[in-house]
């Protein structure tokens, strides 16, 4: 049995007098112990909402979460608030996108690390401080004794994210969810943070759910990748087959849109046409159809089912044939 089994997770946001909005629409995936699973997609496809739903952090009012999220056999969605609070930080850790705003500006770093240790591992403050120092050491923060006493604004962006990773891993959770942990950092720091995460995940045997829109991160870190579009998984594959042979036109487009350093001079970028808001409801067909170069008539009439096609799970009526070059060139 997998460590985390997400089945048919659906999140519907409902406000009085407004159409309900399905942010996440029947997402299913498994995370094995020690495995790294990526959730990829552009802004607004439901990546972050999925992670918040797993952690039980969506507001009780206005967000309806259905499906099951079973962690080690228990359905997290059925737990009471108190039980869930006991598990957060201990069994499931989370790292957020913006390291500055995710740290409390008026509390020294040390206290923010020890807070979790005291809460979940019942350590006395002194012992927790020593452990906190070790943790900062482990995530590669130099001079941890000094940093423990400093405030978030005194640390650099990379160090803040390292500190957050240390806090998230303080209680050795079996599962870590990282919600775009490198987005707010500059590229050199991104690489360092990813290395730290990779090493820690390997050392501690932590399973990692990596949420990102950065395919570079996916290529460097993930074992399995779920590509999300408009709240549904459209393609699920292991890393290598996904990158070498993307089958869903959306995945294909995402990969084709990455600028290449070795491209000929003057070669145009190949974006995916339109934007995420140009979609049709899944109930009426494929949400990606309006932007899809491969769209057929059937795509706007029948919802594509998630099928085991071509060695992977795919939700498409007309998948990309391997070897197809990047989609048609669109003038920028």
């Amino acid at each position: 049995m997998a460590l985390l089994e997400v089945r048919d997770l659906t999140v519907v946001f409902q406000r009085k007098g407004e159409e309900p909005f399905r942010a996440v629409d029947g997402v299913s995936f498994d995370v094995e112990p020690g495995q790294t699973v990526g959730l990829v997609g552009e802004s607004g496809c439901g990546k972050s909402v999925t992670s918040l739903a797993i952690m039980g952090l969506l507001p009780k009012r206005g967000a309806k979460v259905t499906g099951t999220v079973s962690y080690d056999g228990t359905d997290l969605l059925k737990l009471s608030d108190r039980e869930m609070r006991d598990r957060r930080g201990r069994d499931l850790g989370m790292v957020f996108q913006d390291p500055l705003s995710s740290l409390n500006p008026v509390v020294p770093i040390g206290l923010q690390v020890t807070e979790v240790l005291e809460r979940h591992r019942g350590m006395p403050r002194k012992e927790a401080m020593i452990e906190a120092k070790n943790l900062l050491d482990k995530v590669g923060i130099p001079d941890p004794n000094r940093r423990l006493k400093e405030y978030p604004h005194q640390l650099s962006g990379g160090m803040r994210q390292r500190a957050l990773i240390a806090i998230a891993l303080a209680c050795r959770p079996k599962l870590l969810i990282a919600d775009e942990p490198t987005t707010a950092l500059d590229v050199t720091i991104q690489a360092q943070i990813l290395t730290v995460m990779k090493e820690l995940v390997q050392d501690l045997g932590t399973a990692l759910v990596m949420i990102t829109h950065d395919l570079g991160v996916v290529a460097g870190l993930c074992d399995e990748v779920n590509v999300l579009y408009a709240g549904k998984v459209v393609e699920k594959a292991m890393r290598h087959p996904l990158f070498s042979e993307p089958r869903h036109p959306y995945t294909h487009g995402l990969l084709a849109s990455i600028p290449r350093l070795d491209a000929a001079r003057g070669e145009k970028l190949t974006p995916i046409k339109g934007s995420v808001s140009d979609n049709i409801p899944w109930a009426q067909g494929c949400a990606f159809a309006p932007r899809c170069p491969n769209a057929l008539d059937v795509c706007v009439q029948v919802t594509p089912a998630e099928e085991d096609q071509l060695g992977r799970l795919l939700r498409c009526h007309n998948p990309v044939v391997p070897g197809t070059p990047a989609a048609e060139e669109v003038p920028v």
Partner: protein
């Protein structure tokens, strides 16, 4: 050392160090601000005078030592004379001494009312901001009702409810009027904190609700409230003076109070305007001092002005 003690110590030095960065940058700007310095000097002098007034005052403020002049000249008010630079009041008491000692009452009322109001506001604001839902609605409707009444009128009504007016009833009346101001302000900044990333991050770590409120939300919400309290000091002083002026203050006039001194001389204002002018000027200057300080403090602590 027990865990409880060490925790308390930590929280204490946490509270101390909490403001360091913000306070340091604010102080840097305050030192350069002449307006702040003027306010600070006024308040400094005021506090020193009121603390030392028993020794500074040349005479006993409640001793009718010039009563002979009042009686002989048929209610004549003793004019300035050697030993009594400001003359005497209606009962022949040394006016300068009364003015000096009166600053004590003003300080007590101002600080007392602000502290009580602040405490009440902190409790209500924290409840509303932290719990939300019906608690928030109830508290905020109550606050709306109180704020819909003119504050002075509300203070009069509260002071008038007490059968025996005393200095404490004045403090209480003024304090209650300030509670909604603090409560609304704190609730607003708590709400902003509730949806902040670091509170979400703390929740994601399983931090308990109490710790989230008191360690993560409250300390980050306090700076507007602190600024407001310096401004409220000025309001409190003026409102307390107004209550005394209208006779809702301490009836015992042996303890001088500026507002009450103003009220006492209403009937002789056209012949002896100086008796009203001195306490009035004192009230205005002190209120101005607190306002100047509060305003500059607000500007200095405003994150938008930070560089």
């Amino acid at each position: 050392m027990t865990l409880g003690v060490s925790k308390k110590e930590k929280i204490d030095d946490l509270a101390e160090s909490a403001g360091v960065s913000l306070a340091a940058s604010a102080w840097k700007r305050l030192r350069r601000s002449p307006v702040f310095l003027i306010g600070a000097v006024i308040i400094g002098i005021f506090i020193v005078v009121s603390l030392l007034s028993p020794w500074l005052a040349p005479h006993n403020p409640s001793d009718p030592m010039l009563i002979d002049q009042v009686v002989k000249a048929r209610n004549e008010i003793p004019p300035p004379q050697p030993g009594h630079p400001l003359g005497g009041d209606l009962q022949g008491r040394d006016f300068l001494s009364r003015l000096l000692v009166g600053s004590q009452q003003t300080l007590i009322v101002g600080v007392g009312a602000t502290l009580i109001g602040l405490t009440g506001g902190l409790i209500l604001g924290t409840l509303a901001g932290a719990l939300g839902g019906w608690v928030d609605s109830t508290v905020m409707r109550l606050v709306d009702v109180m704020l819909s009444l003119p504050s002075l009128l509300l203070a009069f009504s509260i002071a008038a409810m007490f059968a025996k007016p005393s200095q404490f009833t004045v403090i209480l009346a003024v304090a209650i009027v300030q509670i909604p101001v603090f409560a609304r302000l704190l609730r607003g900044s708590m709400l902003a904190q509730r949806h902040s990333d670091h509170v979400l991050a703390a929740t994601a770590l399983g931090v308990k609700k109490g710790a989230i409120v008191f360690r993560h939300m409250l300390p980050n919400s306090l700076s507007p409230v602190i600024v407001q309290s310096t401004l409220v000091l000025a309001t409190a002083i003026i409102e307390a003076a107004a209550l005394s002026f209208l006779g809702l203050g301490n009836p015992d006039d042996r303890i001088p109070e500026w507002g009450q001194m103003l009220g006492d001389v209403q009937n002789v204002f056209d012949t002896h305007p100086h008796l009203a002018a001195y306490p009035a000027i004192c009230i205005i200057i002190v209120a101005l001092g607190f306002t100047l300080m509060g305003e500059t403090l607000r500007e200095a602590l405003d994150p938008k002005n930070r560089r």
